[in-house]
């Protein structure tokens, strides 16, 4: 049985390690072979970029060698997939190597596409890349007064990130003693301040308490870089001194190029996590078109289901579990408090009051992540 995992970020790494553990006897007996294809030999802890943007972490703390996170029995290649021939169960890599498979796991992730909005790439800062997060921190250090505008593109990874960033901004400027000289204005594309109703109700109260201005139904249409104005598709505009964007995302180009899913998102069965029409292809993490958050947490819970089902198919011939849509998101509510949102397909989140121990739990998780991707937590 040849299992091919395409993608070496959170979902791909957890699924590969989990499978290597569950199928260790079969791998030793050479009945199972696990191969991983990745675009990089490094693994980045992406949620850490938010801390880099506020100077709470340095970029080097976000990386580990991918090979060091994988079980010895996994055949790891830094050679990203280029073409998919699902009918003949073959994947060709950028180097031209052909990998045949019996089971394919797609965990290719997503990418930011600020260039799809005129002026956004040139006029707005963002913390979704290492360089962007460092540049944003330097800009935040420089600003002494004026308006910091935050705009949100759709769809985007980590739905909690916009409100977390706002809470972080408030605390950052307060700590510098210039909060009264900085106007923070938040813009959100739908009719409330967050896509999750419960988060919207809770965050609105917090924003009011912190003196954060907000404008809903603001879909970013264009950024006039020269005049420092961000304009919405709805016809409103905000003048800014510093513009920070949660950029819109798309699935990876290779998915679109191979016509596997519109926008780079692969049509996926919400319970089985298989690609529509292909029971031998599993999809997880940002790559799916599921109505759940595009977060490492969703990828983690999906990876556990996928690994358990692949292992049980190999051992007893049938899958044993279904994904219930579980997502668990930490929400940093400033520099020293946090809460969390846990929800699934059936149950909306029930937010608890922010606390310092929850913030420490998040800080601890930032370290425990490496244990988590190794398949231990």
């Amino acid at each position: 049985m040849r299992i091919l995992v395409v993608g070496g970020c959170t979902g791909g790494t957890i699924v590969a390690n989990n499978l290597a553990r569950r199928l260790s006897a079969e791998i030793r007996a050479r009945k199972v072979r696990i191969t991983m294809l990745s675009a990089s030999d490094k693994h980045m802890y992406q949620p850490g970029l938010l801390y880099v943007a506020f100077g709470q972490m340095t970029p080097d703390a976000l990386y580990r060698d991918q090979a060091s996170l994988l079980e010895e029995s996994i055949n790891f290649h830094v050679d990203p997939a280029a073409t998919f021939d699902l009918d003949n169960k073959r994947v060709t890599t950028q180097s031209g190597k052909v990998h045949e498979y019996d089971i394919l796991v797609m965990a290719t992730g997503s990418r930011i596409v600020p260039e799809t909005i005129p002026g956004l790439a040139e006029g707005a800062e963002s913390f979704y890349t290492e360089a962007g997060a460092v540049k944003l921190f330097k800009k935040l250090r420089e600003i002494q007064e004026g308006t910091v505008a935050v705009v949100v593109g759709v769809p985007h990874k980590c739905p909690i990130a916009p409100v977390e960033f706002i809470f972080g901004l408030h605390d950052y400027f307060k700590a510098r003693g210039i909060r009264d000289k900085i106007k923070i204005k938040y813009h959100y594309p739908i009719g409330r301040i967050h896509t999750i109703k419960e988060v919207a109700i809770w965050a609105k109260h917090e924003f009011d308490r912190m003196g954060i201005e907000y404008e809903t139904l603001f879909n970013v249409g264009e950024v006039d870089v020269e005049n420092q104005v961000v304009k919405s598709e709805e016809g409103t505009e905000t003048k800014y001194d510093l513009l920070v964007a949660i950029p819109p995302h798309r699935g990876m180009e290779v998915i679109e190029q191979n016509s596997l899913g519109e926008g780079g998102w692969i049509p996926t069965d919400r319970f089985k996590l298989t690609m529509t029409g292909h029971d031998d292809v599993y999809v997880l993490g940002d790559t799916t078109n599921l109505p759940v958050s595009k977060t490492g947490s969703a990828a983690h819970f999906e990876a556990e289901v996928v690994a358990e089902n692949i292992a049980s198919i190999i051992k007893i011939g049938v899958p044993v579990r279904e994904y219930d849509g579980k997502v668990y998101c930490f929400i940093e509510t400033g520099h020293d408090s946090a809460t969390y949102a846990m929800f699934n397909y059936q149950n909306p989140p029930d937010l608890k009051s922010p606390s310092k121990p929850m913030h420490w739990f998040k800080m601890a998780y930032n370290q425990m992540y490496w244990t988590s991707v190794r398949g231990l937590l």
């Binding site: 930032n366 370290q367 490496w370």
Partner: protein
């Protein structure tokens, strides 16, 4: 259905309340003493510790070694090795530097203790070769 047991405040003695206050003070003190850096360092160490423990417990060779070490005769051997290392370190520090040559070598090999040591090493070598051959034949 659950039932809740409530202890009325007046049923608690002053000592009980004092103890509760002390526990609360302890928790508050620990909370105040903590910082993000402490939590990060502790979690980092725990993360690496769990990974190391996982590696050790899933290492077949190490687990086999631990099983062998549990046997009394292996422990006797370990005690003998540690005693030998200790005695050798004392003896070597007091002995004059070796002058080399055939005569010196002859004196060493005439020593019954040295011959015993060589015999032990050759027996270990014999069994090790046997075990390695067996593992290879099983495809290990």
């Amino acid at each position: 259905m659950t039932t809740q047991t409530q202890i009325p405040l007046d049923a608690m003695s002053t000592e009980d309340l004092q103890r509760l206050v002390e526990v609360a003070q302890l928790v508050t003190a620990a909370r105040d003493a903590m910082s993000d850096e402490i939590v990060t360092r502790m979690a980092g160490a725990m993360s690496e510790g769990i990974t190391l423990l996982d590696r050790l417990t899933r290492n077949e060779g190490l687990m086999h070694l631990l099983k062998v070490l549990d046997r009394q005769e292996t422990q006797n051997l370990l005690i003998a090795v540690s005693d030998a290392v200790h005695s050798a370190s004392q003896e070597i520090s007091a002995a004059p530097p070796a002058i080399g040559g055939l005569g010196c070598m002859m004196r060493v090999v005439r020593d019954p203790g040295v011959l015993e040591g060589i015999r032990l090493m050759s027996i270990i070598g014999k069994h090790m070769s046997h075990s390695l051959r067996e593992q290879h034949s099983r495809g290990g």
